[in-house]
């Protein structure tokens, strides 16, 4: 069996060719990926491997996979800790909810 990403040729229904507006956080996810690559902290092959190994792969959208995989890689490499990520996320949420 191939990985969860290796679905080419499997029985499936029609392909959803619908488009959606790219959201700001998705652009940011793309930019962060580029920046991490430029700094040598992440490569396309590493990122693909991390995406393919996400347990929640089938429940995530395209850029949600990107973000989850980047987080996984940065934890794996010891660039960030999950505490640091959680604290920062909480801080942003506080700021977001300020009137």
């Amino acid at each position: 069996m191939g990985g969860v990403h290796d679905m080419g040729g499997s029985p499936a229904g029609p392909v959803d060719k619908g488009q959606h507006e790219v959201e700001d956080w998705e652009r940011l996810a793309d930019a962060i990926n580029g920046a991490l690559g430029a700094k040598g902290l992440q490569s396309t092959d590493q990122h693909r491997r991390a995406i393919e190994s996400l347990e929640e792969y089938r429940d995530l959208s395209y850029y949600e996979r990107w973000v989850a995989a980047t987080e996984k890689l940065l934890l794996e490499k010891g660039v960030l800790t999950s505490d640091e990520i959680d604290e920062r996320a909480a801080e942003i949420e506080r700021r977001w909810n300020e009137p």
Binding site: M1, G2, G3, D6, G8, G9, S43, D45, Q46, R48, R49, E52, K77
Partner: protein
Amino acid sequence: MTFEPGDRVRVLAAEKPGHVRTPEYLKGKAGWVESVIGTFPNPEELAYGLSGLPQRPLYKVGFRQIDLWDAYTGSAEDHLYADLYEQWLEPERGTT
């Protein structure tokens, strides 16, 4: 470089854990080397932060669609091309 354009090849039917870029639907299938793309660091190793060296030959391999899909109703001349690394190919001596 083990193979040349025109050589018959078969994709290994191997199960390899990790980051594998050879699609499941091609495993065990026979085709031909259409062209040599070049040599590149092995993505199966790059995926884990290794050097991927020595570089591995990458081939553009052709397949007949009727050899890939049981219920294929299109022309016998319909082809599919895939980029496959040398470590996934073995010489094919059959006459498919």
